[in-house]
Amino acid sequence: MVSEFVFCTGQYASGDWESAPLVASNLIDSVARYTSLDVAATGVTVPLDSPRLFEHPLVYLTGHLPFRLSAAERANVKAYTDRGGMVFIDDHNHDVGGIFHKTATEEIARTWSPLSQLPNTHRLYSAFFEFDEGPPATSHELNGWGDNLIHPHLSAVVRDGRIVVLYSSKDYSSEWNYHPENKKFSSVDNTRFGVNIIVYALTS
């Protein structure tokens, strides 16, 4: 099926873009498990300065290290969002004082505009599953790791009512970075919010 959804992880020149390698397969599993969307069995990794990025209108970025875009990456990803692409960036450090958060928020402001708080009533939280209280907390937040905070909101760059850049300090990258087979050991699938992000990107 050529129109299927392909999960795309973005590769940027700085930092450790590949720090959560199992997130892709885990979210692909969830999309296939809960929805009837056509989804590719495996994800792809695409450099942010590649024209191939435009074949995947949702791209996932994460890392622990400084997040800096080259001029080519910045221009490419800016054009990508101008055409309707959406970027999801997750801080793998779960630390608002950490280097990834500082550099990523600076880079987002430089490339698009400063982040603003996304209200917990946003359609993102009801795109498929209902999350009445906003973004679900992660085990890393509850265990007091990282910045020892439970972040009640996500941040975003919104343009014409559409999320262009979604930014999370909640460390979903750690939360979802496990083999899909291990979901059977959880009472509640913690990747369900990932399905909401994908469905939102496909429908908004």
Binding site: S3, T35, S36, L37, F54, E55, P57, F128, L202
Partner: protein
């Protein structure tokens, strides 16, 4: 000698008198032809109306007005043989029609003779110059009053069509990049879009109110894939009632839409900025709108009171995501054109609002094709001298005879 001259004058007076009497009492069918010249058509029409003639040749250097054409047609209907001739007139014609789109543009269609340069104008002045050797059209955002097309002695005029008010568009599809970007493109173009996007069995995300599919609310429905199957019956009823439908990609394969679909998406795919399926099983009344080589990709047909387009393209979103500055606009234009082509919009009959859209054609329809008899001739010609000349001849002859006889001392 003088006596002979007096006899000659008397004969001339009698002849003039006889002609004057004959002019009054002769039957119309036996009256001679009258040819009129440029600029004299009004006089000729008045004369031919007051005193019926056997034939009327009209020599023109520009197309007579609608009033004069109707007048000539009435004279012909009263029994006079009417023909027309003159310089080569450009058979220019113009028409305006509203484009069924939110922007409310007006399509001006122009047709003319070979290599004719046609000047398009509206009430405020010239708009454009077009070569109308083949019919062409322009999309105007605004035009005031009327639109005229002028070329070589011919000026076609038509009132500006009123822009139409389009209604909502409904998109039925599975959630995916194609549905997302089709909705985005139409909304950017100004359409109000409702969407029902299937995410899982029994689960769909809805955009817009849950209106029934009817022409009171929707101008068109777009089916992108098999998610439209439960609505196939409603789509068929809607189209037959006058609505428009676009069946894109695999949607034309739905069994429930087989009666209205112009064609069916086959298995073979084509590549390009827009990738999709080659259409097959074209219905007899289907018109192919777009091909790649010999392969049909977009086709249309009427069904009931509505129109349906089958488009083989199922990944138009890829054309929008190309890294060129104009890619989003081209994607927008393409989808707007597709929806406009089928959209239901209630319109008033433009023919009631007058104009002179194709004057040469109307002239030919009223009086028949141009006659060769008078082509190139100029000036008034009459086979019988006019009344004033006959009367003058009569008076001069009588006066001459009386004067001559006085000089001879007879009177």
């Amino acid at each position: 000698m003088r006596s002979r001259a007096e006899w000659a004058l008397r004969a001339a007076a009698l002849t003039a008198l006889a002609l004057l009497i004959w002019t009054v009492v002769r039957p119309a069918a036996l009256q001679p032809r009258i040819s009129d010249s440029r600029g004299g058509i009004e006089t000729a029409l008045v004369n031919a109306t007051r005193r019926p003639v056997a034939a009327l040749d009209v020599v023109v250097d520009s197309v007579p007005t609608a009033l004069h054409r109707d007048w000539l047609a009435a004279i012909r209907a009263a029994g006079t043989k009417v023909s027309w001739s003159g310089r080569a007139l450009s058979p220019v014609a113009v028409a305006t029609s509203p484009v069924a789109e939110p922007e409310g543009r007006i399509r001006v269609s122009v047709a003319g003779g070979d290599s004719t340069e046609v000047v398009l104008s509206d009430q405020l002045g010239a708009i454009d110059t077009v070569q109308a050797a083949i019919p062409s059209s322009r999309l105007l955002r605004t035009a005031t009053g009327w639109v005229s097309a002028s070329a070589r002695g011919s000026r076609a005029v038509t009132p500006v069509a009123n822009p139409v008010q389009v209604r909502r568009v409904l998109v039925l599809a599975s959630a995916g990049w194609e549905s997302k970007f089709v909705v985005a493109a139409l909304e950017e173009a100004g359409w109000t879009v409702d969407a029902r996007l299937r995410i899982a069995p029994g689960v769909e995300t809805r955009q817009g109110p849950d209106y029934p599919l009817d022409t009171a609310r929707y101008s068109a429905v777009i089916a992108l894939d098999a998610a439209a199957a439960p609505s196939a019956g409603a789509i068929e009823r809607y189209v037959n009632a006058g609505g428009g439908a676009v069946l894109a990609g695999p949607a034309s394969r739905l069994a429930g839409l087989a009666r209205i679909a112009p064609a069916v998406a086959g298995a073979r795919r084509v590549a390009g900025p827009r990738t999709g399926f080659v259409l097959g099983a074209l219905k007899g009344d289907a018109v192919v709108l777009e091909r790649q080589g010999a392969l049909p990709l977009v086709a249309a047909r009427r069904s009931g009171a509505g129109r349906v387009i089958a488009s083989g393209y199922d990944e138009t979103w890829r054309s929008r995501m190309r890294r060129t500055a104009e890619a989003p606009a081209e994607h927008r234009e393409w989808w707007t054109a597709l929806v406009s082509a089928v959209a239901f919009v209630p319109t008033a009959d433009a023919r009631a609002s007058g104009g002179d859209a194709a004057p040469v054609a109307a002239l030919t329809a009223a009086l028949g094709p141009q006659s060769r008899m008078g082509a190139g001739s100029a000036g008034a010609r009459s086979r019988v001298p006019p009344v004033w000349m006959l009367f003058g001849t009569l008076l001069a002859s009588l006066l001459g005879e009386v004067v001559s006889r006085r000089y001879r001392g007879l009177a």
